[in-house]
């Protein structure tokens, strides 16, 4: 009996010893555990819904009583031409977005960096990232009025320049759609994306520019041979990190303007999920498509983060 008691005592003491550091910072735990539970509910708990993708889910029956069908939903999904079309559209549009937003942001940053008048420079910069803060809905409204076939500014401009002789229905033609998405992104994000390049440019050693000047290099040469190589690492890291988000082609422009004949080129995976899940009520198939997108995204992001980490390491050491 006494042996047991002393054992229990020892156990209690060791437990106390183990708990002591935790008790010492109980206020820290107190401050974070509620939010961990909160995050669990809103971010981890819905992951159990992925079970739907392996079932023939009926909302009335719930997760427990819906029949399991294995990978049938995925098989059906991969045999569905509409899904591959939306996959192609997503990849196509996001690749175009990526290329255009990079080229324009870097080009804009290079040119803005050459503006010597500080006041003018700041004004241009402030105006350039204003659209970043407007919602996509507002931007879509602006696009639709600018590209309108009746009295839209873009058609008017082209007609005034004599490039076209009658208004083009920009939003009604599939062949223009990806370009419209790409340029909408350029309009909205170029200024904002350029911030990081401008910051990288400001950390380039001024001695390099002076050396180039002494050698008689023109401003164009300085831009090409000093500024651009100076931000090469930044470009590479951002490019790789953005590749991780390649399955996010945006939503609003495609959703609002993707009507009628344009639908073939505008429907993205997100819209496919929305259509099958919410509109048609085929929850299992929509979840399967969502999982497909999530899994590819996670693999891409983890890989690209690893790669960009490698590059940053190289820069540091």
């Amino acid at each position: 009996m006494t042996v047991l008691k002393s054992k229990l005592n020892m156990f209690m003491m060791s437990l106390q010893r183990k708990l002591k550091p935790y008790l010492a910072q109980k206020s820290l735990f107190f401050m974070i555990i509620p939010w961990m539970i909160f995050t669990f509910i809103f971010s981890y708990l819905p992951l159990t819904g992925w079970i739907m993708a392996f079932q023939n889910f009926r909302p009335g029956k719930g997760y427990w009583r819906s029949p399991f069908v294995g990978f049938d939903q995925f098989k059906f999904l991969f045999s569905e031409p509409g899904f591959w079309r939306s996959f192609r559209n997503t990849l196509g549009m996001s690749t175009m977005n990526l290329i255009f937003s990079f080229v324009f942001a870097i080009g804009f940053a290079l040119l803005l960096n050459e503006v010597k008048n500080t006041y003018f420079k700041r004004t241009v910069q402030t105006i350039s990232y204003l659209p970043h803060f407007l919602s996509w809905i507002i931007v879509c409204g602006l696009i639709s009025s600018i590209l309108s076939s009746s009295d839209g500014a873009f058609n008017n401009l082209l007609m005034w320049l004599g490039i076209i002789d009658r208004p083009i229905l920009w939003l009604g033609e599939p062949k223009y759609f990806w370009w419209i998405v790409a340029f909408a992104n350029v309009w909205k994000e170029t200024g904002w994306n350029s911030i990081i390049y401008l910051a990288a440019m400001s950390s380039i050693d001024p001695a390099l520019y002076e050396a180039c000047e002494i050698d008689g290099g023109s401003r164009y040469r300085k831009m090409w041979h000093i500024t651009l190589p100076g931000i090469r690492q930044t470009i590479l890291v951002l490019l790789i990190m953005n590749l991780g988000w390649i399955l996010n082609a945006g939503f609003e422009v495609q959703y609002l303007f993707g009507r009628g004949v344009v639908m073939d080129v505008s429907e993205t995976i997100d819209i496919f999920v929305l259509k099958y899940g919410i509109t048609l009520g085929n929850y299992s198939l929509a979840t399967a498509a969502g999982i497909f997108k999530s899994v590819i995204s996670i693999i891409m992001i983890v890989t690209t983060n690893y790669l960009s980490g490698k590059i940053e390491e190289e820069r540091l050491f």
Binding site: F42, A153, G277
Partner: protein, 304 residues
């Protein structure tokens, strides 16, 4: 040094051409960025019937505040505006306090779960369950057609947490040591030291939260579209845009009852007025706070 450099700088012809071309490009950029919005303001202040004739560019031809009167006379749109303001204010306050609190705990080097908790939050940045599972979660929590759905799901923003954490880490550690020696607990340390010291970064994330909440419409669309009293401005704007996209005859008058033909509000004019109303809060705070907007980008980019 600067004056010496300037004296030695040669102004070559090439340099002059470069500056001129560059300035012209920058002016074009300004026009391209501002014109769509400027034009919308002009249309919104023009007589709706007159707008249909076309040709409104920079200034209203027949000035009228009729479009705005219609917007603010529409009960649904006023409800939408009130909801938008409410959700923006609430989610900003909560978002900032929660992010700061989590960031503080994760920044304490002695916190026993620091690594685990950091990973626990970081994972949610990359893994998202997707639309349908989230929908069922919200439904099971009883948040469909509930105002709380605008605030709760987005309250913990991991990105903002990381931004604030990097900022707290950059504060001198002696600040905290002094406080702890004086016997201040973590909670008071958070309230009396961290919150005041982090004002710049908190301002930044507050603006991000506010812009995000003000601009979002998808949650209204998915979770609250069947309850009119919970509508938001961006959602109403989206519905209008979708309606005008769907009908090829986008010039049909919508509010015809009890209006004279010369003063009929058209979708085009109405949309312009709503665009201005929906963008105005952002445009108003923007010039004063844009340095905060930008500051966070740099802090965020040095994460991890």
């Amino acid at each position: 040094m600067n004056s010496i450099k300037r004296r030695f700088k040669r102004t070559t012809l090439e340099s002059v051409i470069f500056t001129t071309v560059n300035t012209i490009i920058m002016l074009i950029v300004i026009v391209v960025m501002l014109y769509p919005f400027w034009n919308t303001v002009a249309v919104s202040l023009n007589n709706p019937q007159d707008t249909l004739k076309g040709g409104i560019t920079l200034f209203p031809r027949k000035f009228s505040t009729y479009n705005y009167e219609t917007v603010f006379g529409n009960r649904l749109l006023v409800t939408a505006a009130v909801n938008s303001v409410l959700r923006t204010v609430l989610s900003t306050i909560l978002g900032v306090v929660v992010s700061a609190m989590i960031a503080y705990v994760l920044s304490r080097p002695e916190f026993l779960w620091r690594k685990f908790a950091t990973r626990y939050f970081l994972v949610t940045m990359y893994v998202s369950a997707g639309l349908i599972p989230n929908y069922f979660l919200i439904r099971d929590l009883g948040l469909i057609n509930n105002f709380l759905v605008y605030i709760l799901p987005g309250m913990v923003s991991v990105f903002n947490v990381i931004v604030v954490r990097s900022y707290i880490r950059s504060l001198p550690s002696s600040l905290f040591e002094a406080a702890f020696i004086d016997g201040v607990g973590h909670f008071r340390c958070f309230l009396m030291i961290v919150l005041p010291c982090c004002k710049p970064v908190l301002a930044t994330i507050a603006l991000w939260c506010a812009v995000g909440a003000w601009n979002s419409w998808f949650d209204t669309f998915i979770y609250c579209s069947s309850k009119e009293s919970l509508t938001t401005l961006q959602y109403e704007m989206m519905k209008m845009l979708a309606a005008s996209m769907a009908s090829s005859r986008s010039q049909d008058a919508i509010y015809s009852a009890g209006q004279t033909a010369s003063n009929l509000v058209t979708p085009v004019s109405m949309r312009a007025a709503i665009t201005v109303v929906a963008a105005l809060p952002i445009l108003m705070v923007y010039p004063f706070l844009q340095k905060y907007f930008v500051k966070g980008v740099m802090i965020g980019s040095v994460k991890e």
